[in-house]
Symmetry: C2
Subunit: 347 residues, 2 copies
C-alpha cells in the first residue's frame, strides 16, 4: 500500500520526520512511501501550492499523512496560490468529505486545559465536520454594488445528498461510541441550516439506536465551555466545524497532541495534526510531534487496516508521556527529536 507524505510548511518537515521514524520502527511490510510538496513550499518550488505531481501521488496513494501548511511569505498572493489551497484542494479533489476530530483529555496531561480539571477531564467527544461544501466552496468574489461600493460575497449552500452523506458518517460513528449525536446548525437564521436539520432528521430514521439532538451553533460554542462532557458525537457543516473543532481541541488543552482524519466514502483518508504550521517556531526543534505521530496511528487504523500497529503507537505515546516526555507546549523542554526518541524508546 502507498502512503503519501506531505510535510508542508513551517514545523511540517520536523514533525513529519518524527512520524516517519515511528512508522519505520514498526517494521510493517507492504507499505511504501512517496513524498510530495504542498503549501508555501510547493509554491516556492513549483509555482503552485498543490502541484500536479503532488496531486498525482495523492490520487495513487491509499492514505496521506499531512504535516501543516501556511507561510507568512505567501499572505499577499492571490487566493488560489495561497498555501491553504493545498489542503482545501486535496479535500475537494479526493472527495474527503468526512473530517473526524476526536477530543479527549490525556490523563497524563489532565491539568493542561484552561478549563477546570473536573470539566476538562469529562471531555470525550468526536466532531464530525463536513469538508466538501458550505461557504468554503460556493461561488465567491468581490463585486461592485449599485452605489459603486466594493462588496465581498460568498455563497453558502448544502444539498440534500451532501448532508445525507455526512449524516450517515456521523450516525455510524455514534453507533460505535455512546450513541448520542448532536447536530449543530443555525436553522433559526439560515436556510442552508434548515435543510441540514431536515435531512439529518430524515437520516435518523435509519439509526433508531442513536439519540439525535439539534443545537444552534451559538449555544454549542457556549456548551463546549460550560459542560463539554455532555457531548458524544457532534456533526456539523464545514464552517461551524472549523470553529467548534478548534474550540473543542483547546478545551482539551494540549493542541499539540490532537490528530484528525479526513475520509472519502471508501476509507481512503488524509491524516493531519489539528495544529497549524507555526512559522514562528519552525526549524527550532520546539514543535511537539505527537499529534502527527498519533495521526499516523489513525491512518494505520482507518485506511491501512493495521489496527494493532495503531494500538502500538498510541500505547507508546501514552507511555512516553507517563515517563515524563514533555515538549515546550506541554510545559517541558524536550526537542522535537527527543520527543520522537521517547516514543521510539518504548516501541
Amino acid at each position: 500500500m502507498l502512503v503519501a507524505l506531505f510535510a508542508g510548511d513551517g514545523i511540517g518537515p520536523e514533525i513529519m520526520a518524527e512520524a516517519r521514524r515511528v512508522l519505520d520502527a514498526l517494521g510493517l511490510d507492504g507499505l511504501t512511501y512517496e513524498e510530495g510538496l504542498v503549501g508555501g513550499a510547493a509554491y516556492k518550488a513549483k509555482g503552485h501550492p498543490l502541484p500536479p505531481e503532488t496531486l498525482d501521488i495523492a490520487r495513487r496513494a491509499d492514505a496521506i499523512l499531512f504535516g501543516a501548511v501556511g507561510d507568512y511569505d505567501c499572505d499577499a498572493l492571490e487566493r488560489h496560490l495561497r498555501p491553504e489551497q493545498a489542503i482545501l484542494g486535496l479535500r475537494k479533489e479526493l472527495t474527503l468529505f468526512s473530517n473526524l476530530r476526536p477530543a479527549k483529555v490525556f490523563p497524563q496531561l489532565a491539568d493542561a486545559s484552561a478549563l477546570k480539571q473536573e470539566v476538562a477531564s469529562a471531555i470525550d467527544l468526536l466532531i464530525v465536520r463536513e469538508l466538501n461544501g458550505d461557504v468554503y466552496f460556493g461561488e465567491k468574489g468581490i463585486r461592485t454594488t449599485a452605489d459603486g461600493l466594493r462588496e465581498g460575497y460568498d455563497i453558502m449552500s448544502y444539498n440534500e445528498a451532501e448532508v445525507r452523506r455526512i449524516a450517515h458518517s456521523a450516525f455510524r460513528a455514534a453507533q460505535v461510541r455512546r450513541k448520542k449525536l448532536c447536530s449543530v446548525d443555525k436553522a433559526n437564521v439560515l436556510e442552508t441550516s434548515q435543510l441540514w436539520r431536515d435531512v439529518v432528521t430524515e437520516v435518523a430514521a435509519d439509526y433508531p439506536d442513536v439519540e439525535l439532538s439539534h443545537m444552534y451553533v451559538d449555544n454549542a460554542a457556549m456548551q463546549l465551555v460550560r459542560n463539554p462532557g455532555q457531548f458524544d458525537v457532534i456533526v456539523t457543516g464545514n464552517l461551524f466545524g472549523d470553529i467548534l473543532s478548534d474550540q473543542a481541541s483547546m478545551c482539551v488543552g494540549s493542541i499539540g497532541m490532537l490528530a484528525s482524519a479526513s475520509l472519502d466514502a471508501n476509507g481512503k483518508g488524509l491524516y493531519e495534526p489539528i495544529h497549524g504550521s507555526a512559522p514562528d517556531i519552525a526549524g527550532q526543534g520546539k514543535a511537539n510531534p505527537l499529534a502527527t505521530i498519533l495521526s499516523a496511528a489513525m491512518m494505520l487504523r482507518y485506511s491501512l487496516g493495521r489496527p494493532e500497529a495503531a494500538d502500538r503507537i498510541e500505547a507508546a505515546v501514552a507511555k512516553a508521556l507517563e515517563s515524563g516526555a514533555r515538549s515546550p507546549d506541554l510545559g517541558g523542554a524536550m526537542t522535537t527529536r527527543e520527543m520522537g526518541d521517547a516514543v521510539l524508546a518504548v516501541l
Copy 2:
C-alpha cells in the same frame, strides 16, 4: 424621553418586571414608558412576531429595553413568522448595526466560570458585533439543483460602507479602553472576510493610537478558551460575532449577568440580556433578572444620557451580590422577585 419595554417570551415578562421596578425606584423624571408585544407572544396575539404597532413604538422611542424571544410552540412556523424575526427585524428596521457585548468576571462570582479561576478572572473584553449584514440578511432559500436535489443556500456579503461603519464603532470603543483591537475573520477562505480585513485596515489609519491585529475565527475560538485575557476589543461580523460573543459570555461563567447594547449611528439603542427566553423555566420565578437590570443601566448610560443613574444601578447590583443574593443559575435559591428586591434594597 420615551423608553419602549418589550418583554417577549418565556422568562421575558418576569425579568422585565424587575428591571421596571428598578427603573421606577430611581425616580428619574422625564422618562415615559410604553410596552409592546414581540416574539411568540406577539404572534399569538397579533399574528406577527413584530407587529406594526410594536415597530411604531420602537421608532418613536429613544431606547428599547428588550427581554427575550423564543417559544417552542412557534418552531414549526414559516421563518418570517418565528419569534426570532422580532429581534432581527428591530435590528434591521432601526439600523441597530453595532452590538456591544462586554464580558468581564464579577469579582463576587469569580468561581462561576468553567475556566480556571486565574484564566477567567483575567477576562475584560468587549465584543463589537456587526448586526445588519452578513449571511443573516442576504438572499436565501431552498432551490432545486440540476440533479433534482433540494439545496439550501444563503448569500454572505459585506460592502465597504458596512464594514467601515462598524470598524469606526470598534476603534472608538477601543480608544476609551486599553486601545487594542482584534478584528476576527476567515480571510483565508472567504472573500467577504478579505474585504472586511482590507477595510478595517484602511480605517485603522484614522486611529493611530489603537493597535490593530487580525485573527482567523477558528483561532479566536481557541484563544478565547486558552487565554481570553489577551483581548481588549474584538470586532467581527454578524455570524462570527454570534458564536464568539456567546462563547466569551460563557467563559465569564454567569450568563445570567451579562447585558448588551445594539446601537444605531445616533446613539439610539436596544438593550437586552444576552441569555435567551428559557421557556423551560418560564413563569417559575427561577430566572435571574440581573442581566436585564444591567441592560437598563447600559441604556441609561448610552442612550438616555443618565450615566449617574447607570452607575447607581451597577453599584447596587454589585452590593446585592456581595450581600449574597444568588438565583439558581448562580448556585443560590432566590427567586426572580427576591433578586429584584435585593437590588432595590440597596437603591
